[in-house]
Symmetry: C2
Subunit: 422 residues, 2 copies
């Protein structure tokens, strides 16, 4: 079995618009976002292979959002910051300071969080459609859920065909606690969902950049109606504080167990609809298809996540564990749309596996769980891997499913850690 | 039943040293800490009754530790910052940005967290006593626990006799996730605990201020041996990030279910001892006794916490809920040394109670749980209270237990929220 190969970061030859639009090139899309040279240039430079290290002064465009730990991130673009593998701990939650950032459109002006309770949400597809303020939403109920937030393209860097988009390794993911009102409570308060509605559709409130067609740029995603009505939340709080602006504050649609793209930030409209959104980000973007194919409505969309795990320590980048001897290997595991049941680790490329121990509180089926495995490693070169199994018996596969955009990578082999001990 | 009375903040006439020493006055103790006028003056000024509001520039001495949310705190002293009632959410955990601060000695220089893995811990009272680095400790095991961190004096402000010390309301408490190595794993790795040992004793690594006797100033606490050997941790991580300096990083003794004073910061020595520490903070400080009595070894020490809850929203300070109508009341509840089972709320001064609903993941027996209760409140003046019951059937009492230092206040009446709705 060959070592995992990390392909050079580059744009795919099959460029596509950020939101999956066939109408304009990704380069043109990014230009119109106003992000300029940085966003274009980064994937082609040495950023991914030699991330900006601590103490390096990043280009102005890649300054982290306020309060983010400068040592915790790989800086992909002005809207994309990945948590370094070694920055994940064993607490189960990822604090704001270390949580990855991925935005599809420029972050709204901070003025939107100056009067959080005044934020307005239009609700359609109910008996009594109306606009509610966040102040009103807060009177309709409160629920709290811990859930993994993961970008569809997390693990894209391991696809050998050079899938377009940010070259995420393991860190376009985090586990956080969300709190807000259940979508079903809002629907009930407005007289119930329209008969015939089949989808819960959320629309982001970002400004559409000048020169872009609304449907090409708007962040609008549909999920099955029943998912919305069971455990989706309109969240105004994350990890015990008002939802930070860069993560979608004042209000975000949270769909536990689903990929990040469905967790619509700056939620401006919630609708119960007969059809999926016609926005490019739903119609053609975030569609799973063979390498070389264009995105199209008939293909599977990035909804439910699958079982996945990876080792965070030793990371291979941590100078403190370069010596042979005892080590407590740790990582994170989650089932995606269902709970994780067990995790195994291997130090011999999957020829044999040892059971790892899940540690800390169980934060529920949509959270990830830290796992640990105490072992003694001799001097030499080691390839450490982990694989998780969910409660339905699905085990993380050895190989990725090749696909055009590099989505949904759960390959245990791809996520291996290579370690040289002396 | 009278409304709760908040006494004016003031030093008790029965001054005592910060660490409970009978040898010097508290004023002299504080002077020798080098904290100067601020620490002395604050309790006598308007700070407690009219906390510095957002936008007010605090005296330099009361500048918050880096990264703390300036709007989330009541500033008591350079070493004491209380989380505002309205700054608690419903996520179950309190993020670093909003977690209270209480230190018994000045915070060590930040250089101690520059090489975290190089931090040294002396371990005594084992078959093979030795000094271990944090790097070595990390090879001995990892466990994770969510636990309430609460100052013994939380709720002191409600004591009518003017108990000495910071006038904490509800916010000298928070629930966080700790991760580190179990104390028992360290003891086992060093050959096991000495026969005859009855206590687990932790010593803080802060410098002893010049002019102070070591035993008067050192933060050294003993807990029962068996508590140390069951679920105490040596924690290097909090809420998913390396333990912040102000909260005891690089290494802190965590004793789930026990008051904050036992969670020794900057842990420099761990010892399994036949006797309790002779330090003033153990011998005479943090002893529960009648008003007017001096601290003495025979009195109960502040170990296990008891069942407690309070309402955080509406807080009475939040302009957004001053209108009559529907409101989702929320707060937090914990059992202390055991899990919480239920929470009730009352809007009629305890004449009748309604069951509240616990929300979010259960983070384990030592964590707190957010509770919510949806209700409709008419215009007028309302006194909202909550009371919790733990799994052993202990219910939070109506009245506080009067005691000299204002410790361990769990009175539901004291923690009431007064609300005027129009």
């Amino acid at each position: 079995m060959p070592d995992p190969v990390i392909p050079p970061a580059r744009w795919s030859r099959r460029q596509e618009a950020g939101a999956g639009s066939p109408h304009i090139s990704r380069r043109e899309f990014v230009r119109r976002l106003g992000l300029g040279a940085a966003a274009i240039a980064i994937p082609g430079c040495s950023e991914v292979q030699s991330p900006l290290g601590p103490g390096t002064s990043p280009p102005e465009e890649l300054v982290l959002p306020a309060g983010k730990d400068p040592e915790a991130f790989i800086r992909h673009s002005p809207l994309e910051f990945e948590t370094r593998r070694e920055a994940f701990g064993t607490s189960g939650i990822v604090p704001y300071e270390r949580l990855f950032v991925r935005s599809n459109l420029p972050t709204p002006d901070a003025s939107v969080v100056e009067d959080r309770d005044g934020w307005q949400l239009a609700v359609d597809g109910v008996r009594n459609p109306r606009t509610l303020t966040l102040r009103e939403l807060k009177t309709l109920g409160v629920e709290t859920v811990a859930a993994v937030l993961q970008c569809s393209g997390n693990g894209r860097i391991f696809f050998p065909h050079g899938a377009g988009g940010s070259q995420w390794g393991v860190g376009a993911a985090g586990c956080v606690v969300w709190s807000g009102v259940p979508v079903r409570s809002v629907a009930e308060a407005l007289g119930g969902v329209d008969p015939g509605a089949r989808f819960t559709t959320g629309t982001g409130g970002e400004a559409i950049p000048a020169g872009l067609d609304r449907d090409d740029a708007v962040v609008e995603r549909s999920i099955p109606l029943e998912k919305g009505m069971t455990d989706a939340l309109l969240a105004w709080e994350m990890n015990g504080e008002p939802l930070p602006l860069v993560h979608g504050g004042p209000l975000r649609l949270v769909v536990p167990g689903y990929f990040g793209i469905n967790q619509v930030k700056y939620l401006a409209r919630l609708a119960f609809t007969r059809r999926e959104s016609a926005a490019a980000i739903m119609r053609t973007g975030y569609r799973l298809r063979a390498v070389g194919e264009e995105g199209a409505p008939g293909q599977p969309t990035m909804w439910e996540m699958s079982v996945k795990s990876w080792i965070n320590h030793p990371s291979g980048a941590d100078a403190t564990v370069q010596r042979a001897g005892p080590v407590v290997v740790h990582g994170v595991a989650f089932g995606g749309a269902r709970a994780v049941r067990r995790v195994e680790v291997s130090v011999n490329r999957g020829r044999s596996w040892d059971e790892a121990r899940l540690v800390g509180p169980d934060l529920g089926p949509y959270a990830w769980r830290p796992f640990v495995a105490a072992m003694t490693l001799p001097a030499g070169r080691h390839l450490l891997v982990s694989r998780a199994t969910d409660v339905a018996g699905n085990t993380q596969p050895r190989d990725r499913v090749e696909n055009e955009r590099g989505y949904g990578n759960t390959s245990w082999r791809d996520h291996a850690v290579m370690l040289t001990l002396s």
